[in-house]
Every structure is written in C-alpha cells, then in structure tokens.
C-alpha cells in the first residue's frame, strides 16, 4: 500500500516490524525480499514517484578537495532513487578486493567474495541481467566474434561486464511495492532524525518530515538506513540528540573513508592493423556483455597497486567527448550543443575492419582514506537538517597505480606486436603526483559507514549492523571497505540481499 505523508494528519505515529529508510536500489531490493511475509514493512521515501525540485534540493551540499560534481544532482531523491538515471554497468568485485592488502591502507573486509556469491546470483535478477557468469570464455562462446586483444595470462585478464537495460527501479517495481499487502510505502517521508534510547543501545523511532511542515514518527523493531553513502552518513551524524557526535560515531568513523571510482582517460592504444575489438565495445542501443582489461591480483600485489580496469573506445569517437567532470557539472548550452553534434554526426558507421586507435579509459578504486569524508555543514536544508559537506581526497597511490597499469598493458601489447600504448601526458613523469583538470569520478558514492569487526575501525559489523546499536543497520555502498573497480550497484544489491536474509533470521528469534 502507498500513503503520501503530505496528506497524513500531522504528528501521526506509524508502526511496523521493520523500517527501511530510502527507496532506491538497496531499499526497494530489501522491501521486495520481505513481500508476502507476515511482517509489516515500512518503506520510507523522501520524495514522490516523480522528480520534485523542492525535494531534490535537500541533497544539495558543499564540496571541497578534489573537484567534484554538484551533490544535488549526483543522487536522485524520489522512488527508485538513482536508478532513475544510472547507466546499468554491472560487474562483480574480485576476491582481492575483500582482502587485507598491506600496500593499500585501511583495506580488508570482514567478509570474503565467496560470502557474496549466492547474493550476486540473486541480485542479477533485480537489475534484469543475464546468467550469473562473468567468465570471458563463456561469453566468447555466446558471441564468437568476441576476440580478446590480449588473452588472459599472468599479467592481464579480461574482466566481463553485463549491462542492465538499465532497470529503473521506480518504474519497474512501483506497482509491485504499492500492491504488496505487507509493504507500507510512505512517500514524502524524509527521515530527519533517528531517535535512540537513553543509553544509545537501540533505536526507538525515526522522525519524518516533508515540506508541508508535517512531521510524523515511525516505530519499528528493526531499522535499515538505505539512503546512499552521503545521506546515510549525514543522517547518522545529524541524529545527535542522544549521542553528541552522532549515532554510531563513538570512534569518529562515520562519514570518513568516502570513496569514488576514479574514471579518467589515461592512454591510447595504436594498432598496426584495424581491429573492431568487439569484445570491448559498448553498444547502448543493443547492450551486450563486454570486457575491460584488468591486472591480475598477483601483479597488483607485486607492484603494490590498486585494482582497476581499462575500457576501450575508438579514439576518433572518444575525442568528441568532453571529460565527464566538465560535461556533468553544468548543463550548459555548450554541453547541449555537443550532444546535438554527436546525434547529428554524419561520419561513416563503424568500419567493418574496426579502428587502428583506441582511447584507454581507467576505472579504478581509490584507496580508503579517512581524510576523504562527509561532514555536516553549518547550513541547513528546508527541513531544518544540516546539509552534507563532502571533502573528496585522493592519494599518490591512485596515480601511481594508473601509470603502472598502463605500463603493464603497454608491455603486454608490445609482446604481441599488435601495436603500442601511449600514456597521456599527465602520466609521463612518475614523480608528478598532481591530477589533471579533467579528473573525475563515476558518481559512485561508497564508504562513510564502513564495515569492520572492530568498532574502532568501522561503523557497521559484518552483518551491516551499527556497532553498539542493537537494531540499526546500514544498507548499500556506504558499508564498503574498499571500492573495487566495478560500478557499485550490483554489489550493493547483493550486500543488501545478504543483510535481508540476516534480518529474516534475526526477527524470527
């Protein structure tokens, strides 16, 4: 059922068994898991079913440090959340991403990749992907024209990606959720405070508010915050009536270790003969799985670098695109004109034999860094909640890793004799730790309520429960300890399904 909280009587009290805060990929995935159970599920969404500028403004906030996108537009604040504009890129994290790596400070999850395997398989369905198979051999059999530039070896491997249509959770799951007898969806129900008991060992309820000025209370046995990394941190920090530093923040970890994927053009591949390299090509009109080139775990360890992948785009096409950090920062007329130019492009179709030059584009984790963080601003939003402030910080390890990745790729390409690799100028000097102006992220917000068995080094435990608070859980990419290379959506859904199974067992007891 669905209730619009704007039209409820002021100061209503809503009660249920489990309260899910946020109806994006994580929140909706969690709610779907609880459908047709005997439990009353309260699903709270701050926005409605459509974009609303007044609601979206609540996500506005300041950014400092490394240049970043406007916070207001990097997440969508309505039913379905940011799946309303995601591109559908999906792949799994690697085993190494979960391990403690002595060359990556603050790495090491309390769970392993194998712990997520069954949940990845289930998550595939939520985002309408194909079979849970990310082996290049498997996909080469499905698409015989897929030929790797470099075969998997002890240095590089071809990491497969699948593409969601992309599934817009708001459209796809609206009717299912609204018609579910035990799911009680409240729209225009922004949580502005989480109220703990006197000794801050459990949550008693949350306060929701909307721009009509109405305020309500939600009570439940279990609370799951699924508001995305920035808002999860903001909510915990702003809920400081009982705990002055914010909930779950006794050790000053909430908001820290904010991570993004660095997404940046890095090199060029020049071939002696044209090659369509179909295995690596992206076709949004007919999405098929594709590969990106990656460095093996053994070589990452040998060279003490981060995990990243390389995608290929024909150079002639890539050169028409402005860097994403410029493109998406402002919706200027120049950007609109660029899209029109691309749409009207009358250049020849992809040559049958392919291209001789490709741009190599990096997607790489950033090292977890406590100085990269979300805090509360002094400015408040229209509901009276302090706005989020993001200070995004990179380290020299990211740049050294990118350079090393292309040195290794360049050597592998050289061994085959098919061509050569050229680094972009910002990577030429290995002592230069600066970043070029076009450095950007992938709009992937991770970290801020990281997972750890030790409350001193993390906010949630291996089950995503906030340390020290019996019935408060975090869902989504805010629980990530490291960012890996892939876009976060598939993994955050898998992690949420794992949390859901845990809560189902818990609530039975």
């Amino acid at each position: 059922m669905h209730v619009d909280a704007r039209y409820m009587e002021n100061n209503s009290v809503i009660e249920g068994d489990i309260c899910i805060i946020g109806a994006g990929a994580a929140g909706i995935s969690m709610a779907l898991e609880w459908m047709n159970t005997k439990y009353k599920v309260i699903l709270l969404e701050g926005g409605g079913f459509e974009y609303n500028e007044q609601v979206q403004q609540l996500y506005d906030g300041k950014t400092t440090g490394q240049r970043y996108y406007p916070l207001k537009s990097s997440r969508l604040h309505y039913f379905g959340g940011t799946t309303g504009h995601w591109a559908g890129y999906c792949s799994t994290f690697d085993e190494i991403d979960f391990k403690k790596r002595d060359w990556v400070p603050h790495s090491g999850w309390p769970i392993k990749r194998a712990d997520l395997d069954p949940f990845y398989a289930r998550a595939q369905k939520n985002v309408d992907l194909g079979p849970y198979n990310y082996s290049v051999d498997y996909w080469q059999k499905q698409f015989p024209s897929y030929k790797p530039l470099l075969p998997n070896n002890d240095v590089v491997w071809n990491k497969m990606w699948q593409f969601s249509p992309p599934t817009r959770f708001g459209k796809k799951y609206k009717d299912t959720i609204v018609n579910a007898g035990n799911i009680h969806l409240y729209t225009y129900a922004n949580v502005i405070d989480i109220k703990a008991n006197e000794n801050v060992s459990a949550i008693e309820g949350v306060t929701v508010k909307n721009y009509t000025g109405k305020q309500h209370t939600v009570k439940a046995k279990l609370f799951v915050s699924a508001c995305c990394s920035i808002q999860n941190a903001r909510l915990l920090l702003a809920s400081n009536k009982q705990a002055p530093k914010g909930l779950g923040n006794d050790n000053d970890n909430v908001g820290r270790y904010f991570m993004e994927h660095l997404e940046i053009k890095s090199a060029e591949l020049w071939l002696t003969k044209p090659d369509p390299l179909l295995l690596y090509m992206l076709d949004f009109t007919n999405p098929k799985p594709r590969a990106e080139m990656a460095i093996t775990a053994a070589k990452q360890e040998e060279f003490r670098i981060l995990n990243g992948t390389t995608s290929l785009t024909p150079l002639s096409l890539a050169r028409k695109f402005k860097p994403m950090i410029d493109l998406w920062t402002n919706d200027t007329k120049k950007n609109q004109d660029m899209f029109k130019t691309l749409e009207a492009d009358d250049s020849p179709k992809v040559p049958q034999n392919g291209y001789t030059s490709y741009e190599l584009f990096t997607r790489i984790e950033q090292a977890p860094n406590p100085e990269s963080r979300v805090t509360l601003d002094t400015e408040k939003d229209s509901l009276g909640m302090p706005r989020a402030a993001l200070h995004w910080v990179l380290t020299p390890l990211e740049k050294r890793s990118i350079r090393k990745i292309y040195e290794l790729l360049g050597q592998e390409v050289g061994k085959t004799g098919v061509g050569r690799v050229r680094l972009m100028e910002y990577l030429w000097d290995e002592k230069d730790e600066s970043w070029p102006e076009f450095t950007g992220g992938g709009w992937h917000h991770m970290g801020t309520t990281r997972m750890s068995d030790d409350p001193k080094t993390g906010v949630v435990d291996a089950n995503c429960k906030v340390h020290g608070i019996d019935n408060l859980y975090m869902a989504g990419a805010s629980c990530y300890v490291t960012a890996a290379a892939p876009n976060p959506t598939l993994t955050l859904i898998a992690l949420t399904l794992r949390l859901s199974d845990h809560l189902k067992e818990r609530i039975k007891r």
Partner: protein, 128 residues
C-alpha cells in the same frame, strides 16, 4: 599523428630488398636499422623523429649515430649484406623479447622496447 607513412618502407623490408648502407658512416649499418618494425606502421616521420629526440634527451650517453648503431647491432650477426627483411625480422623479434623481459622505456608517453627507442633516436639523427 598521420599514420602509416612508413608502410612503404615496411613493405620494402618484407620484399627482402637489401637497402644501401647509411652514407658517411663507418659502421656496417643497414638503413633498416632506423626503421622499428611496429612503430614504422604506426608513426609518421614527425612522430618518429620527436620520439627519437626525446629518447636522446633522456639518454644523453647514446647521442651519436655510431653509439646507437653499435648498441643496435651488438651481439647480432647483422652484416652489410644482411637483407633488409632479415634486419626487419631481427628487430621485430628483439622488440618482442625486450617487452617480455621488461626492457622497456617510456618516451614521450610511448611504452617502447629499448631497442625501438634507439631506432627512433637513430632515425632522428639521420634526419638532421
């Protein structure tokens, strides 16, 4: 970069034509010495020259034609009468071997085998 200006030369090599020795040089240097096989299919003359100049700048100890020719032919059986195709094949294999053994260098961003970087350097000197 305008590509493939050197394809003609590559094809020449493949045809097995002996190329005259470099004029004015005492070393038994075949002209194919300054034609790195893969790069000659990718680079235009300007890029080859600039890459060679950059290598010379970062490796000043190798800044003469004779030094470079000596380094390129050391421990090889290349001689004045070696056909260009054989020279070409020799350097093609040598570059691959150097990539295998990580004997590489970054020049103007290009990840090159040391030998092909030297070939570019020789090319740039021969253009002067």
């Amino acid at each position: 970069m305008e590509r493939r200006n050197f394809i003609r030369l590559s094809a020449l090599g493949a045809a097995g034509i002996t190329i005259p020795f470099l004029q004015g040089c005492n070393m038994p240097v075949n002209k194919a010495l300054d034609m790195p096989p893969v790069l000659s299919q990718i680079f235009d003359a300007k890029t080859m020259k600039e890459t060679g100049q950059a290598y010379l700048k970062q490796t000043p100890g190798e800044s003469s034609k004779s030094t470079l020719a000596g380094l390129l032919t050391q421990n090889s059986s290349l001689s004045q009468t070696t056909p260009a195709a054989t020279v070409y094949s020799f350097f093609d294999n040598k570059a691959k071997e150097e990539f295998v053994s990580s004997k590489t260098v970054v020049v103007n961003g290009w990840i090159l085998s040391v030998t092909e970087a030297r070939q570019c350097a020789l090319f740039s000197l021969n253009q002067n």
